[in-house]
Symmetry: C2
Subunit: 294 residues, 2 copies
């Protein structure tokens, strides 16, 4: 992948690197009903699609890669077969195929909404290109996504199954695919839109005193962890711990990258995250000097 | 692609080359209603799926790559935007995305039927890997298909849009994708199942005296063309001319390859084409000595 990227004509490389690129993930819990298997939240999806279309009109010089989680699509099958930890038996491979199908079915629903809003959304099935090694993404769809961006398409990816040289098969989340892609197509911002409005000091669904963190940097995260005691480290962010740690890894690796964790249920938040570079909604994760957002 | 293939461990290469591999295409006109846009022929599809499942049980040591045409899915959009001849304007790219979506929607219907029949069908979206140069496929999904076959999956592809270094974008048929794939994953047989029962001396839907050709070789095709006069060359096979010429090109390029053109509306024909190596249904196209099929 990297070789192909380097071999691209200089003009195309410049085209991508000089146009600000944003990645947006619509979380699976945001666009599907958690308690009803394989039920999309069409009203939410339709509104988010309009916000994306509005943002593209407002910032025509910005490029966008869109991804989404699978939520309650394929979750049952992936869980039952333990697809993420490895795929071995004939039955496991059937589960792999069923899980892939469920993710692709939700993707068609998302694509339909985007096309309906006149967006040139083109799915690039991640698993057609993904190669993992013991659960880690080693290559992915970056080259096809780059060519799609050059043509003015809106590349659409999703959490997917993946072939794995150690586990046979596995699952790769949108964030994991984004992380590998970011090394080749560096974004200025990654927006992770979920159900919750950002990263909180504790789980806001359980703790009424939970406070939204407006800004996280590698050093502020260390202080926060220290203040709460190492044993509480994973509770700091509730189910968000892994997401924050992955985000911190990315902002450290890519100079200038910002990750925004925001809530997609709040109308306008995704539009703002895509267009407002100075005062984004939710939580801003970056590796620069603290900005004192409030 | 070729480099990756050659770099694969010897064991995996042997696994593929020693197990007889068959490609099967279900024609778009076979699995969709020509006169009703975007309407699948579910009864036909369900029966064909059962035949495929039965064939896999009867010949468990044989590997299969399955493909299908798009028929009346995406046809309107591809026609309106002239996607095959090139993609330039913003509107053309929107048409490209709509055409891709239609092909993918039909593919989900096909995948659902296959999974229903307990087949581990896994779509490998061709356009995620396809690269064309002025309408000619230069690389495709062969490497991912190879890895899927090694794992016992049933790789499923389809006619699709494709990125093109000259035309911007184009359309690649299942046959065109098969042709490029065959150079890397050589099949022993390619089965092209359509509405018509094989290749006829003239169009059987218009000419009651049309006779089914049981066998075509490069030399018999030349004689046939000469007998009918060069000006009738394209009429020999009705709409099949291009298909026969492409098939002859493939059997000449790949020693031992047979192409079967058969009718999928006749129950049992696809099962027979997948399992019967001595007396296949329809028309056998090959580059060997004439076998005198009757």
């Amino acid at each position: 992948m990297l070789a192909a990227w380097q071999a691209a004509p200089a003009s195309s490389r410049i085209a991508v690197t000089t146009v600000p690129l944003i990645y947006l993930k619509l979380g699976g819990s945001l666009i599907t009903e958690k308690d009803n298997p394989e039920t999309p939240r069409l009203d939410v999806l339709e509104r988010l699609t309009r916000e994306i279309a509005r943002a593209r009109k407002a910032r025509p010089r910005r490029q966008l890669v869109l991804g989404h989680g699978s939520g309650s699509f394929g979750h049952v099958s992936a869980q039952r077969h333990g697809t993420r930890i490895g795929v071995n038996s004939k039955n496991d491979w059937y589960g792999f195929a069923v899980t892939a199908d469920a993710a692709a079915r939700l993707n068609r629903i998302v694509a339909a909404q985007l096309l309906q809003a006149d967006l040139p959304a083109w799915t690039v099935q991640p698993s057609a290109a993904l190669r993992c090694k013991d659960g880690r993404v080693v290559s992915g769809p970056a080259e096809t996504v780059r060519l799609a961006l050059e043509r003015g398409l809106l590349p659409l990816i999703h959490g997917d199954v993946a072939l794995d040289s150690v586990r046979g098969g596995t699952i790769a989340s949108t964030e994991e695919i984004f992380e590998e892609m970011a090394a080749q197509l560096p974004p200025v911002r990654i927006v992770l839109a979920g159900e919750v409005e950002g990263v909180y000091t504790s789980d806001p669904r359980k703790d009424p005193t939970a406070a939204l963190l407006r800004e996280i940097t590698p050093s502020s995260f260390s202080s926060l962890q220290a203040a709460l005691g190492a044993s509480h480290a994973t509770d700091v962010t509730g189910g968000m711990a892994a997401k924050v740690e992955q985000s911190l890894r990315m902002v450290r690796a890519l100079p200038g990258l910002e990750v925004i964790v925001c809530g997609g249920l709040l109308p306008g938040a995704v539009f703002s995250a895509l267009t407002d570079l100075s005062d984004p909604p939710g939580t801003l994760i970056h590796a620069g000097a603290p900005r004192g957002l409030s």
